[in-house]
């Protein structure tokens, strides 16, 4: 808070408040001592401004040294009472000296005469003002702390999202890359053109994933393109065993969604579904809009008597679930169903057109 509090507008506001207090003190003195308005003003305003800077600086450092969160209330109260009392006492002494100086400089003006009761009132006012300054400082500190916490939380959330996406990216990389490189190595002597095609597909796939950022949503059509690239690469490995069908309505294609939502599901479909079928099968992606909802479905053939049907509920699916929840809360849902020969993941999320 420090620098900001003392800077610019805050400082001006602070001084304005003290100027008003100075006016009040002048009025009070005028009423109590009958010194007249000009003399009271000339006496009270400089006195108040001096006290303003004394209070401001000293209580600022005290507030920093005695944070409410970590010090006991009693020690804070004792410290502030002692300091407030000494500050007010010094202030009264200064006032007495100041009044004497005025009478000496300009005896004709009459000046302010500080009788003991008036001095006592000034002492009380001084203690109160010091306390109020301290309270204002504590308030500002709390404000500042809350705001810092808020921004930190936001930063952390963004960081976490990015980390998650990075994790997801590295999670696909090793095996996928390993298999792809093996395929390319095999193709180089069998079919050099196909090897080049596959290398380009692979490069395209990685270029696409590298451009993704966790907090920037992508068009569904882009996400589908990424999965198509992925499948084209896998098709080289699986040959005719892997077939792909995609149905996407035009209004669905223009919807936005967090990146890498479909890809892990399709990867699962290939690994746990088609990969377990000697005869292969089809991966189907279906996307449509229903009112304010975007409905996505990834479906794949599975081995009806294989035990591996529900392996799809692993890291990839959990990650998709988590990220959809983080992005949309309860507005998004993920359901998996299996009817023996097919495994299905249904996603429902708000249709976000980006406006």
């Amino acid at each position: 808070m420090g620098r900001m509090f003392w800077a610019g507008r805050s400082a001006a506001l602070y001084l304005a408040a003290w100027l008003m207090l100075g006016l009040m003190l002048a009025g009070l003195l005028d009423a109590a001592t009958g010194a007249g308005i000009p003399a009271s003003l000339l006496f009270a305003l400089p006195l108040m401004l001096v006290y303003a800077s004394v209070c401001g600086f000293s209580s600022y450092y005290l507030c920093r040294a005695y944070p409410l969160a970590s010090k006991s209330l009693r020690s804070v109260l004792v410290v502030f009472f002692v300091t407030a009392a000494s500050a007010a006492l010094l202030w009264c002494a200064a006032a007495v000296a100041w009044a004497a100086l005025w009478r000496w400089l300009a005896p004709s003006m009459g000046g302010v005469l500080l009788s003991p009761p008036v001095a006592a009132v000034m002492f009380g006012v001084g203690v109160l003002l010091y306390g109020m300054t301290a309270c204002a400082h504590y308030l500002a500190l709390e404000f500042e702390r809350a705001r810092r916490l808020e921004t930190r939380e936001l930063e952390l959330k963004l960081l976490a999202q990015d980390a998650e996406l990075r994790m997801l990216r590295t999670q696909i990389d090793p095996h996928f890359l390993f298999n792809s490189l093996n395929s390319i190595s095999a193709l180089t002597s069998i079919d050099a053109d196909a090897a080049r095609d596959m290398t380009l597909q692979l490069a395209g796939f990685f270029r696409h994933t590298l451009g993704l950022e966790a907090h920037r949503k992508v068009l569904l059509s882009d996400e589908v393109e990424l999965t198509q690239r992925f499948l084209a690469i896998e098709q080289v490995r699986f040959g005719p065993r892997l077939a792909f069908a995609c149905e996407m309505a035009d209004d669905a294609a223009r919807c936005l969604l967090p990146p890498m939502i479909l890809q892990p599901l399709v990867e699962n479909a290939v690994k746990h579904g088609i990969g377990q079928l000697p005869q292969g099968g089809v991966v189907r992606v279906h996307a449509m809009r229903a009112g304010s909802q975007l409905k996505l479905r990834v479906e794949n053939d599975v081995d009806p008597d294989g035990g591996a049907v529900d392996k799809g509920g692993g890291v990839g699916l959990a990650n998709v679930r988590q990220r959809l929840h983080a992005a949309y809360g309860i507005d998004a849902s993920v359901h998996t169903t299996s009817d023996g020969a097919r495994f299905r993941v249904d996603l429902i999320l708000p249709a976000d057109m980006g406006d």
């Binding site: 095996h175 298999n179 093996n182 395929s183 095999a186 040959g239 990969g275 377990q276 000697p278 294989g306």
Partner: protein, 88 residues
């Protein structure tokens, strides 16, 4: 030497075949894409050596060895090191 190649990925089979054809004393008697075919081929073709992928749909490499018996010699081929350990 009569050799059988078993792998569910056609590219992997192609690579093995390519490597093996450089050896004049090796005769490739067959290729299989899954465990069932492999068990059948081992009993019918009676190879001396089988190159066997471990990670395959339905019947994996270990199950093929169990069913087909240990008459031929086996060379396990795998991308997964956890399988490689089990193969011993």
């Amino acid at each position: 030497m009569r050799v059988l190649i078993v792998d569910d990925e056609h590219l992997a089979r192609a690579v093995l075949r390519e490597y093996l054809t450089t050896h004049a004393d090796v005769e490739i008697v067959g290729e299989c894409a899954n465990g069932f075919e492999a068990v059948k081929a081992i009993s019918e073709l009676d190879p001396e050596l089988v190159f066997l992928d471990i990670q395959m749909p339905k019947l994996d490499g270990f199950e093929v060895v169990e069913l087909a018996g240990s008459k031929p010699h086996y060379i396990f081929a795998t991308a997964y090191d956890q399988f490689a350990l089990r193969a011993f």
